[in-house]
Symmetry: C2
Subunit: 525 residues, 2 copies
């Protein structure tokens, strides 16, 4: 049985609640390595060690944190082939281009952006009122961030290498990484890399720790524990809501990302102008990565006119003709089945695909459904449940007025797109939809599919509930993603030599921006 | 019966659930005006109107919002005497200096700071990635902010004039103000002022609305309602937690500020050096405003040595000799009784005061309790319940090691202070306490009492649960306080003329800071 990493040491789980093996999704067979399901005593030990080290890490120079994150990126590159092979085995995601040329470089890029943000220090938004001698900045939470990684990104959202890991450490917090049981081997390699690097950077031993798996009750106990700083969870809605409830009850911040149907509105002028190009884009976005993206378009809204029907026929043919890719886990198949049952019970009709494929491995036909606007508006709740996988629902609105009603019936989403005519034919209806959609999504797009989340300071990967738990944060993009793991720290009349360097009179980097007496400036006080 | 203000019109409550009168705390008599307890139909109407107007307000020029807020400040000054007279009648807070010379100017200052922040626009943190054409900024929530004001600040935290009101509007959100039943008349004057000003600024009719009172179930329905944007509540812990649970369940942001004991640690060197001065400061802070401040020091921690005992004797004499001020409400007396029962049951001893005073009006003796560190550590939960009013508990630690244990046993607080020796004698123990206390409080102080919350950009009035609901925000200070009422809005490939002005290539003010391709700058793209 594999060791977990607690307080800097690889050791066996104590009295594990069970064990598990990862599964090769391409043939359904179990992989050889055995991993423990930790009992809460392991988790409590991790919490105590992390709480002990949190103040040490909070006083660690940002340059050391940055060196660690940069070191992780370099270490990942050095073991890239091993990571790609292991992640491919555990998730069946294609080695090329997905794992080797897209997700791995994105992961190292994120780590380096986090390192740069830590070095730059501007993220902490140092604010100084010289007259009142009151100063403030964002600082670490004083307890670990528990990261529950998802199944669909073995690298970029991995709990031991992905965006949450990088953001939490860059902001000066210890991490307790909970591997996703789909890819424990990949996660182990990341932790080995981090562990090698940490030794060189003299970080405290509980800077990051690894638990492979835990029972649901341990998860709720962890996120609501007095010693935890905050938690993140990316995954299914029921599990996310259970964790959110426990964290909320204890008053602990939790950032969940559990479901989003990412509506795309196709306005008549856009379809008249460039129907086939849009059809290709939308189809590709719906089925990219077997639809296993948080930003997959799950709802396509258009008017049931001649252009709309022609668009639909093109997309349907693409769904019908395209081969089914392998899904990352058996549970994805189960989720699709549940979602299809709910949608068809609510009146949607399957027009392409619809069945799991009876071959070795986890596959599901690329599936397109159709429903009228009238029926959608009768049961918008069931018809906007996320079907994680290659499944999308096309809503045929009666007219442009009904499109607006459909927008108004949507819940919170990560993204929302509107395709409109290039030269203004759709502007009137665009304005009406945009005025509603803007407040229902984190990232609002024009003439563009939502898959492909660029890692940039301006990226918003978040949104109103239920897409995320609070609409004021993003999980992607530095430095913004770090603010999820920060407390606002005020210093009132604190003696100068006791202030954190960012709040002392002399600007510690000479370049970081600070708000001094109302002016954003890199100068010293 | 007084009218409520819904959708720009003063009208009677429909089918009210009841009515109430404010009470004069100086003699316990009811004041003549009758106010309705609204049924949910009033609240739902307010929600619908506010949701309709939210996108309009979101597109309103910040200059118009600023003009409105500045107009409110001027209107308040014009009706200052009336406000002071009414608030004094309803709360018994002294006209001078408290109401006229401190709280009223603070309130108008806040409104003007909010106006300046709206005009400046930097608060929205516009971020532009020119290469990827991805842009982001903080924007309004798309639904109203429900503000539940507290009893203790009839002006500065008033739901229709205070910091939450100013911050929510400055960030472009409509407000549904729920008056505190202690001072409905004061709140009505503020709404009259705002209503006069709004007419001149052409703001949409549901920019702010007024409900005087509602039943608890209506409150929970309001904060979790699909149409609400966010809520704030300042008041008692049970009511705050009930609202928080309802809002959390619905995934709606809520900012609660419900209790804080604001510990003060007095280190031996500080007492040896300047014992009497500290005793005067601490006593004054504990009893200022009859102890009815969120930042009143409820816990005083010191070592039981000669200096500690001498300090304690001085403070006790001050408590004993000082007259009891009038409290703002009968409920404050009930809260004190409950808190004293809990603390004495847990082993604390009342050494000064302890009784309600049997005269007309709501008065309670200034009350000091004492407990040993040993006893405190046996039951830290019951012994750190807030007693809102002129009540403080002195904890006598056995030695400096036990002081550290006491710090570790504290819950989240708004503030925490350490008094230490000027020339370093306490530095070793200071470091140990500070390393713990930093993460348990929002505002960390040296050699200073926590009462007196300066309104400055660097102020932090917030903290970890249970002091507040999320440690990353502040309720006081502009522009930071506005971020509680903001969503992070991403724009991906959105056509240039459809972008909000703050994200267009040309800087709309010429001066607002924007993060363009990694550089914080006022230049155009």
């Amino acid at each position: 049985m594999n060791n977990i990493l607690i307080d800097g040491e690889w050791r066996p789980a104590r009295n594990p609640a069970g064990s598990f093996r990862a599964v090769n999704p391409s043939d359904g067979t179990e992989l050889p390595d055995l991993y423990p399901i930790s009992s809460f005593s392991d988790i409590e030990e991790a919490l105590r060690a992390a709480r002990r080290d949190a103040p040490v890490l909070a006083k660690t120079k940002p340059e050391a944190l940055a060196e660690f994150l940069d070191g992780c990126a370099a270490g990942i590159e050095a073991r890239a082939e091993e990571l790609v092979a292991c992640a491919h085995l555990e998730t069946a995601l294609p080695k090329e281009p997905r794992l080797r040329s897209i997700e791995l470089p994105r992961t190292t890029f994120q780590l380096r952006r986090a390192a740069a943000a830590a070095r730059d220090r501007s993220w902490c938004r140092a604010t100084i009122d010289t007259k009142a001698d009151i100063r403030s900045k964002y600082g670490p939470l004083g307890g670990p961030v528990a990261v529950f990684g998802p199944n669909n990104f073995p690298f970029a959202y991995n709990s031991a290498a992905g965006t949450d890991f990088a953001a939490a450490i860059a902001a000066g917090n210890p991490v307790i990484a909970k591997a996703h049981p789909c890819h424990p081997g990949t996660t182990r390699i990341f932790v080995e890399i981090a562990n090698d690097v940490a030794a060189r950077c003299s970080l405290p031993p509980a800077t990051f720790q690894l638990i492979y798996h835990m029972e649901p009750e341990s998860g709720t106990e962890l996120v609501g524990h007095p010693l935890v700083g905050a938690s993140t969870f990316t995954g299914s809605r029921p599990a996310g809501l259970r964790l959110k409830e426990a964290a909320d009850r204890a008053g602990k911040p939790i950032y969940i990302e559990t479901s989003s149907v990412n509506p795309i509105f196709l306005l008549p002028g856009a379809l008249a102008e460039r129907r086939d190009r849009i059809a290709d884009e939308v189809f590709a976005s719906c089925t990219l990565g077997a639809g296993q993206f948080c930003t997959k378009p799950g709802l396509i809204v258009l008017i049931q006119d001649r252009e709309g029907k022609a668009f639909f026929d093109t997309v349907r043919q693409s769904f019908e003709r395209s081969p089914a890719a392998i899904l990352v886990a058996r549970s994805v198949l189960a989720g699709i089945r549940t979602a299809l049952e709910m949608m068809t019970s609510a009146g949607a009709e399957i027009v392409a695909g619809g069945r799991a494929i009876d071959t070795p491995g986890f596959r599901h036909e690329n599936t397109l459904l159709r429903v009228s606007g009238d029926v959608f508006l009768k049961n918008p709740k069931d018809l906007q449940q996320e079907a994680f996988g290659p499944v999308s629902l096309c809503i045929f609105a009666r007219d442009s007025g009904q499109i607006v009603d459909i927008a108004a019936a949507l819940e919170g989403n990560l993204t929302g797109s509107i395709y409109s005519h290039t030269f203004g034919q759709d502007d009137e209806i665009y304005e009406k939809i945009a005025a509603i959609l803007r407040f229902k999504v984190g990232r609002f797009l024009n003439d563009k599919v939502p898959t492909g989340v660029t890692v940039t300071a301006a990226m918003v990967h978040g949104g109103p509930y239920p897409a995320a738990g609070h609409p004021g944060f993003t999980a992607v993009g530095f430095p913004a993603a770090m603010l999820r793991f920060a407390a606002l720290h005020g210093y009132d009349h604190v003696r100068h030599d006791r202030l954190p360097p960012e709040l002392q009179d002399k600007n510690p980097t000479g370049t970081m921006g600070r708000l001094i007496d109302g002016e954003w400036t890199p100068r010293d006080v």
